[in-house]
């Protein structure tokens, strides 16, 4: 069938319908929407549809191929789990923003051209901001403001790039870009901003941890992974992306290790994981791209699972700093188990989903002979286990008991976590169904050779050894770490202070001079212009001759004269004759 349904249509319709329904209806609706969209995606045939005309271009809202479909599957699957997790929410506002956000990201995935992509891109930026605003704290408002500003910057780069690209090539097609030039670089920057590539990466670790419990879970999947999708489609094989990806993988680890807030640790580990994907896109072979897609798929699931376990802790205790948490396994063992499954999956522990996807990227790099890529990604793999695999569960659920006894979260939250844990284990044990979905040819990758599995176990368990031996060095402190948002948070203030000093200084100086001082002086002078000129002349004359004795008497005389206009006529006549003489001299000499 059926180009008559567009997957994101359900989400946008749901976002509107939400306002009309009572609580029970809303709960059914938010579960039904992703399920219906998933069902529709399974039935989509490859090709273009939902065409429309704009500015003389033939545009399409729905482009179906294997790449867009696999992202569509995981987006809707994850949406179902996220809404199940968020079932307790009574507010329409948050669900509405979440539905529109997910709908827009599906729209971006299925957009058939650059212009449609741009429209959905901006809707995503705006709607996701509301998920941060819904936290309703002062910090969240600040973070949301910075978040939307960075995304507007990225969106404008993208728009400028698209316009230049359309101007240069006359086509709005969104296919692999081959020409390197200003248009494609601008588009690349626009995509990379959403992928949280440094230096414009701090929006992620700034905004996501300030979002609501459920908003954070939802946001982790869509913005960065939509960017990964667009990079795969547009920039596969651009070597610069290997550098970007490797630096992200390392950057995320180091900042995550410094961090104290559990959700910020997880935010940095998104950066680290997206780094792996972007590196795969940079390698650009079929295997690397398949690896990037598969890893995005697995990552969305285990990352949502991790954020759910952290969200459940935050929901029940109201705390998210590692220094305040600890010992929670005692009363939330199920949450601990689910969180640990997510933590082991992200570390690509064998028999969990990360293990059957991430090594594809690394192996593809090895096939191409990129020694440094292999080296850095292996280091980063060890580092992931360090910061997300052990640090997160250890400091939240074990470590020092801070006396918190919250109990397990509501059943629907546990159910959502159980569902995602099942997917993690399923992909880890039996990855073939996922491999069959991958768009770039058949997968020739076998994760479970004895040697490979053994190597991975060694790498991970000795990373764990390093963690426990160096635990005193990893003691949590009540601090934050400076990230690149320092540039616009402190730099913004510095700019404001400098601008304030310069322009307000200029303003007040001009105010003093032109508003207060000069008009007063001029008014005083023009009260008695003749008298004042005479007095000034007199003063100069007296100062020159050194005779100051009878000046006040003369000044009094001048005052009296000018007040009564009692100047002798002769002086006036003399002056006018002199003036006429000068004028005629000028006139005749010129002619």
């Amino acid at each position: 069938m059926t180009a008559s349904f567009h997957p994101s249509m359900f989400f946008f319709a749901g976002a509107l319908l939400l306002w009309l329904l009572p609580l029970l209806g809303r709960r059914i609706l938010i579960l039904l929407v992703p399920a219906a969209a998933f069902a529709v995606i399974t039935q989509l045939d490859p090709g273009l549809s939902w065409g429309y005309q704009l500015l003389g271009f033939d545009l399409h809202l729905l482009r179906v191929d294997k790449l867009s479909k696999v992202f569509g599957y995981v987006f809707t699957l994850n949406a179902f789990a996220c809404f199940l997790f968020a079932l307790h929410l009574k507010s329409r506002y948050e669900h509405c923003a979440a539905l529109a956000y997910i709908g827009a990201s599906l729209g971006a995935i299925f957009a058939g051209d650059l212009i449609s992509l741009y429209v959905f891109w901006e809707i995503m930026a705006v709607t996701s901001t509301f998920l941060v605003l819904a936290r309703q704290t002062e910090r969240a408002y600040g973070a949301a403001f910075r978040y939307v500003m960075v995304h507007i910057f990225g969106g404008l780069c993208l728009l400028a790039g698209i316009l230049l690209q359309v101007n240069a090539t006359g086509s709005v097609a969104f296919e692999g870009f081959s020409l390197q030039g200003l248009p494609t670089y601008l588009i690349l920057i626009g995509f990379l901003v959403n992928a949280a590539a440094p230096p414009l990466s701090a929006w992620l670790s700034d905004a996501y941890p300030e979002a609501t419990v459920t908003g954070g879970v939802i946001m982790t999947a869509y913005t960065t992974k939509t960017a990964v999708y667009t990079l795969i489609r547009g920039f596969a094989g651009w070597e610069i992306l290997m550098v970007v990806g490797c630096s992200m993988a390392i950057y995320g680890i180091i900042w995550a290790i410094l961090e104290n807030d559990m959700r910020r640790i997880l935010a940095y580990s998104i950066m680290n994981q997206v780094g792996f994907m972007i590196c795969g896109i940079g390698i650009g072979t079929a295997m690397a791209l398949n690896g990037a897609v598969a890893h995005a798929f697995a990552h969305i699931i285990y990352k949502a699972l991790l954020w759910m376990s952290a969200g459940a802790v935050l929901y029940l205790t109201g705390k998210s700093k590692c220094t305040d948490l600890g010992g929670l396994y005692k009363t939330m063992p199920l949450t601990m188990i689910f969180g640990t499954i997510g933590a082991l999956a992200i570390s690509s522990f064998p028999f969990l989903s990360g293990y059957t996807t991430k090594p594809m990227i690394i192996e593809a790099g090895v096939h191409e002979g990129f020694f440094w890529v292999w080296m850095i990604l292996e280091i980063a793999s060890a580092g992931v286990f360090l910061h997300a695999g052990i640090k997160f569960p250890y400091f939240v659920f074990f470590a020092k008991d801070n006396g918190l006894r919250p109990g397990e979260p509501p059943k629907h939250m546990l159910l959502a976590m159980a569902l995602l844990s099942f997917v993690c284990i399923f992909i880890g044990v039996y990855p073939q169904p996922l491999y069959d979905l991958l768009p770039f040819g058949a997968v020739e990758f076998h994760a479970y050779t004895f040697e490979h599995t053994l190597n991975q176990f060694q790498l991970l368990m000795f990373s764990a050894l390093a963690f426990f031996l160096l635990l005193p060095l990893l003691k949590r402190t009540e601090t934050i770490s400076i990230d690149s948002d320092w540039i616009y948070r402190k730099g913004g203030r510095l700019f404001f202070a400098v601008a304030d000093r310069c322009f307000n200084g200029l303003n007040s100086w001009a105010d003093r001079l032109f508003v207060r001082y000069l008009p007063g002086q001029l008014a005083k002078f023009f009260e008695e212009p003749g008298g004042n000129v005479q007095k000034y002349g007199l003063k100069l004359l007296d100062e020159a001759s050194g005779n100051e004795a009878d000046r006040s008497e003369c000044e009094a005389k001048i005052d009296r004269r000018s007040r009564s206009a009692g100047y002798p006529v002769g002086g006036g006549v003399l002056l006018s004759v002199l003036l006429l003489a000068v004028l005629s001299l000028l006139f005749f000499s010129v002619n």
Partner: protein
Amino acid sequence: MKADKKQPKEWTWFDHPQNIRRLRLGFYIVLVLLVLPDFFIHKHTLFSPIEGVPGFYALFGFIACVAIILISKVLGYVLKRPEDYYDR
């Protein structure tokens, strides 16, 4: 949909020092068992013969993590700020 108000059941397994000792012992045994097979199988190498050395990945993981921890510790002195840093 709130959690039960009644006191939830508590698990205290990790509070007992002998359990931690057992866990640690088990962990060390696992570490040894993981490196042992390396001496008996032929390992494929990707870039350099060093990778064939028994326990290469164990050593690699350990050194990488120690390096990451030390580097971030040093960076921490430069980057860490009090929590109200941006509010001042």
